[in-house]
């Protein structure tokens, strides 16, 4: 096993090629959707249901308003199918009669003057027969006294290996816990929005802030009943997404397109204000986990028994996929003979929950990792020792039943984390500090975990992704793919991979704008798949291009920029300068998605995160004084970008652990719908985040790279919870760990 350690020390300047989008962003020249020129544009707005589900009786238009001045769209105006295209056609584009949550779109309005629009919005009232007993709680939904859908269950999965009853028999120590995690808002700083243009030929051009252009395209096809050739989706610079712009842009795009169809050729801008964005767009699924772990006296896990339930909200959207990821990651990077993970996604009357970095895994990993510390406590064992006894090694059977190959670094990341943080020494120092009666208490806690990169199992096969490279006459090469830059650095990383594969400088390679009329479908930009899967395809396409240049244009084995350009010019002139690579899964990818058996991912990335916290004993505020993220990522294609991804994800994870909590009003709408009361960390709140990268070089991507972006969301919350538990000697069962909760725990716990 060869491992390279890139220790991103604070005093070292990590380098990598400059981001290709850097300068435009720094100078303010990059155009986001609200910045796009749109001559004569109308502004759109949305009239929404008030009740938490019910029946729409009537739409009343105030006769005092001259409605002919406005573009008005209702469900009647939908030319195609009134459903947002996703896994299931259950969510209407516009409510016709029944609806399931507060905030569903009913009427769309557009006008050139935002002020008039604001007044008109008040001139429309909806007569609703409200749902008398909405459901907002996961366990209430499971009891199904009222049903939103049959049984209130969108998906029900079971991952089962061995026999938990047998494990119980072998266990000397058992813990039994219940954990709750809240919804979390992505809080991209750019609110969602779309700009729709009806072209003279009747086709529609849709520009906007989005992650997955082909999802939007498919949604438009279905809603408008138009064929793909008459629709074009173009991504504008996207100001953050984190999963939040995976499915919802389809909704806004359908709305904007419907308005544009009736706007007489004027473009329609539908940009959400922050409050609306917070209230209606999907967020992280809240979860409730019942977990039992059993170990023998030596600390070897004998069984893992989990009942993992997530709140899917009022429509199915992506919940089954989120659930499946939560279930697969639930048992953690541990070997255990008897495992039972029951996972359910339930229907409630909340707005649908959706994708957010980590996609179900942060919820189940939190439960598992905090439970591991609880088990260690009950065993009287150090949490590190317990983990060392149980972490997977090459040759072990993974929780999904396949044999773990060489690409396993569970122990290596833990060892590196212990060394970097001087874990044992710190732990002793903090114990001494706590015994000395200072006005604060300190603790150190950790989480060990792994995250699969790319779509689960056969998912990539279903996607059948394609990437093209276009050689240009001047010897430059253009990458054509549908994967989007939304801040995570994809544009730079993909260009870098192509340039390296072609032996060209980076400025000879360009990533084409994500425009469905030009780029093939290389799959959505989700699930940490871009660098690994799409990067792999680019490499493959580069190989094809070089081969073609050699075969038809006699490009020599070694070449310089000039001869490369000459060969390209020839190919270009011959009209044969486009190559396309198709995805084929690795040969050993056997995965059964019914039984959760086999090899779930082409690659897992491995991590051990360590949090050091200080709790103020007067106010019970927690401060993360130090945070270390050790991550094995195969190969760091661009260390600066990787580091930025990890630091940013950890910051979101710290928010998840300590501050971020979506609160609900009595209608199931986000109550803290302003940035002043949905609390994310500011720079004044964040201490050091140390990033240590390990490169094992065995990932399925270029040069052995794997996905990076989701792990940083998985680890911080459990590491922080474990650190606080250690500092205060209490048991925590819920995040965020707000001071109010610590007060309850420390006062009632007699601490």
């Amino acid at each position: 096993m060869s491992l390279t350690i890139i220790n991103q020390r604070r005093d070292q300047q990590v380098v990598g090629p400059a981001r290709v989008d850097g300068f435009a962003k720094i100078s303010g020249a990059a155009l986001y959707v609200d910045d796009l020129p749109a001559v004569d544009a109308l502004h759109g707005t949305t009239v929404r249901t008030a009740g938490a589900g019910g029946t729409l009786q009537e739409i009343v238009f105030d006769p005092a308003i001259n409605w002919s001045e406005f573009v008005v769209v209702t469900a009647q105006d939908i030319p195609g199918i009134n459903a947002i295209k996703l896994l299931e056609n259950d969510q209407p584009v516009l409510v016709e009669r029944t609806f399931r949550h507060a905030g569903e779109a009913v009427v769309l309005l557009a006008h050139a003057d935002p002020e008039k629009l604001r007044i008109a919005l008040k001139g429309i009232s909806l007569v609703e027969l409200p749902n008398p007993s909405p459901i907002f709680d996961i366990d209430d939904a499971l009891q199904a006294r009222q049903e939103i859908i049959p049984g209130n269950i969108y998906a029900d999965y079971l991952l089962e290996r061995g026999d938990v009853a047998a494990g119980e028999y072998l266990a000397d120590v058992v813990i039994d816990e219940r954990f709750l995690t809240p919804s979390q808002e992505q809080l991209y700083i750019e609110p969602q929005g779309m700009l729709a243009h009806l072209q003279e030929d009747g086709s529609i051009l849709m520009e906007g802030s989005l992650q997955c252009p082909y999802y939007v395209l498919d949604a438009l096809v279905q809603c408008l009943g138009m064929d793909k050739d008459h629709l074009r989706v173009v991504q504008s610079t996207t100001g953050g997404a984190f999963g939040g712009k995976e499915d919802y842009p389809s909704v806004i795009a359908c709305h904007a397109a419907l308005l544009a169809l009736k706007a007489g050729g004027r473009p329609v801008k539908l940009i959400y204000e922050r409050g609306e964005d917070l209230r209606v767009t999907p967020k992280r699924h809240p979860s409730r986990t019942l977990i039992r772990l059993g170990a023998n006296k030596a600390g070897e896990l004998q069984f893992i028994d989990m009942d993992f339930a997530i709140d899917g909200g009022a429509y199915r959207t992506l919940s089954p996929v989120v659930l499946s990821r939560g279930v697969i990651h639930a048992p953690g990077p541990y070997k255990c003979p008897h495992i039972r993970i029951k996972g359910r996604a339930v229907a409630t009357n909340h707005p649908p929950f959706g994708a957010f970095r980590g996609f179900g895994a942060p919820q189940s990993i939190l439960a598992m990792e905090v439970a591991m510390d609880r088990l260690a406590k009950k065993l009287g064992m150090d949490p590190v020792e317990l983990r060392k006894k149980n972490l997977l090694c090459t040759g072990d059977l993974s929780p999904t039943g396949d044999v773990v190959g060489k690409d396993c670094f569970a122990h290596a990341v833990l060892d590196a984390a212990l060394e970097h943080t001087h874990y044992q020494q710190r732990r002793e120092e903090y114990n001494a500090w706590n015994a000395a009666g200072h006005p604060t208490r300190r603790g150190i806690g950790l989480a060990t975990f792994a995250h699969g990169a790319g779509f689960t199992g056969n998912g990539e096969l279903h996607l059948a992704s394609r990437v093209s490279l276009q050689a240009l006459a001047n010897g430059h090469v253009e990458i054509l793919c549908s994967n989007t830059e939304m801040g995570q650095g994809a544009a730079t990383t993909l260009v870098q991979i192509a340039a390296a594969a072609l032996g060209l400088p980076m400025d000879s390679v360009h990533l084409a704008q994500t425009d469905t009329s030009r780029v093939p479908n290389s799959g959505p930009t989700v699930a940490s798949r871009t660098c690994m899967v799409v990067g792999g395809l680019i490499q493959k396409a580069a190989g094809q291009l070089l081969q073609r240049l050699r075969e038809t244009m006699d490009l020599a084995e070694s070449y310089d920029a000039q001869s490369f350009a000459a060969a390209c010019a020839g190919l270009y002139a011959a009209g044969d300068a486009l190559v396309t690579a198709h995805y084929y899964p690795p040969a050993d990818m056997l995965w059964d998605e019914q039984t959760f058996f086999g090899r779930a991912y082409a690659s897992y990335a491995w991590a051990a995160y360590v949090a050091e916290v200080e709790v103020d004993m007067i106010t019970l505020e927690t401060h993360v004084i130090d945070f270390t993220a050790v991550q094995e990522i195969g190969k760091a294609v661009h260390p600066v970008i990787v580091q930025g991804q990890i630091e940013g994800g950890v910051a979101q994870g710290i928010g998840y652990a300590l501050y971020e909590d979506v609160l609900w009003n009595e209608r199931g709408v986000m109550a803290n719908d302003r940035l002043t009361n949905y609390i994310i960390p500011t720079s004044a709140d964040l201490g050091f985040i140390h990033v240590v990268l390990l490169e094992g070089g065995l990932g399925a991507g270029p040069k052995g790279a794997k996905g990076v972006g989701e792990l940083p969301m998985d680890g911080p919350a459990p590491a922080i919870v474990n650190a606080i538990q250690q500092a205060l000697n209490i048991d925590i069962r819920q995040i965020p760990v707000r001071p109010e909760m610590l007060l309850e725990l420390t006062v009632s716990g007699g601490n």
Binding site: R118, G275, P439, I618, T619, L620, E621, Y659, L663, A671, N672, R674, T676, N677, I679, P681, T682, S683, A684, D685, P739, E740, L743, E744, V747
Partner: protein
């Protein structure tokens, strides 16, 4: 279309206000008002009186008894002012934890007080220092102890036609010590869940000669702690029974549960902070 007036001198402003009492919406730094008009555009006032150009309302002057701070002085100017930092460190600290730099560059002390939020960050300090307000009217000025300014939830003693022109803060007594702490939802850009300022005066024998508290976010208005102050008067630190203090804190404040915190937390933390202030474990502690 609304009308905007930006006079240069106080008398001019007061005359306008007197001529049309209750008509104008006074705007200073705008950090509260602009948010309000963004969130509730229908409540947009028709007549704005912009007091940011009034010279009389700007700046700080040292006098024999203390300092006069023009109501429209920005928190940024206040927190950097050398005399403030030296003699009224709690005010420098409270100004420095109000919002974040871009807010402090605009927000004014008068605006913070007149906006009358129960969570106003500079209110506790002004209460603890025993500030007085200079309230101007076309017919002349009046003085009001700041303690008497807040009369109910977002209700102040300002009458139609009046402007807050300045805040006066006396020098703290020689043997006094201060304590300030804001407990917010995060370290910057935070609304207080509980905040406290205290000024405690002891004689050479350790007897408490005076104790003034100001708190925010624990009642409908920023408030003092009269029964705590009374209990402390004439007592030596060692004779103070913490349980008695806690009980009196409970009498003096009326915290609520809201989106930011719970009643139980506010009550308990208020008591702990009051005790910490009394026992003097920390001086002018700034949250960060």
């Amino acid at each position: 279309m609304s009308e905007w007036t930006r006079p240069r001198h106080l008398p001019e402003a007061l005359e306008l206000l007197a001529a049309a009492p209750g008509q104008y919406r006074v705007i200073s730094g705008g950090t509260d008002l602009m948010v309000e008009s963004h969130l509730a555009p229908e409540r947009h006032p028709e007549f704005w009186l912009d007091i940011s150009g009034l010279r009389e309302l700007q700046g700080l002057q040292i006098t024999e008894e203390g300092i006069r701070i023009g109501a429209a002085t920005s928190l940024e100017v206040i927190r950097r002012h050398a005399e403030v930092v030296t003699h009224w460190p709690m005010l420098a600290a409270s100004a420095a934890v109000t919002g974040a730099p871009p807010i402090q560059n605009r927000a004014t002390l008068g605006g913070n007080v007149c906006n009358a939020s129960p969570a106003a960050d500079n209110a506790p300090v002004l209460l603890a220092y025993g500030a007085r307000l200079e309230i101007a009217h076309h017919h002349g000025s009046r003085w009001l102890p700041y303690m008497d300014f807040h009369q109910g939830y977002r209700k102040t003693a300002l009458q139609a036609g009046e402007l807050l022109s300045a805040l006066w803060i006396p020098y703290p007594p020689k043997h006094s010590r201060g304590y300030f702490r804001k407990v917010g939802t995060r370290a910057a850009q935070a609304i207080a869940k509980v905040s406290i300022a205290a000024l405690i005066e002891e004689d050479s024998g350790g007897m408490i000669q005076g104790a003034r508290f100001g708190m925010a976010s624990v009642a409908a208005t920023p408030c003092t702690l009269p029964s705590v102050s009374q209990y402390l008067l004439g007592r030596a630190l060692r004779d103070i029974a913490d349980a008695q203090v806690r009980q009196r804190v409970g009498q003096d404040i009326a915290p609520i549960q809201d989106i930011r915190s719970t009643t139980a937390y506010r009550l308990e933390i208020a008591s702990r902070l009051v005790l910490e202030a009394i026992h003097g474990r920390s001086e002018s502690k700034k949250e960060d």
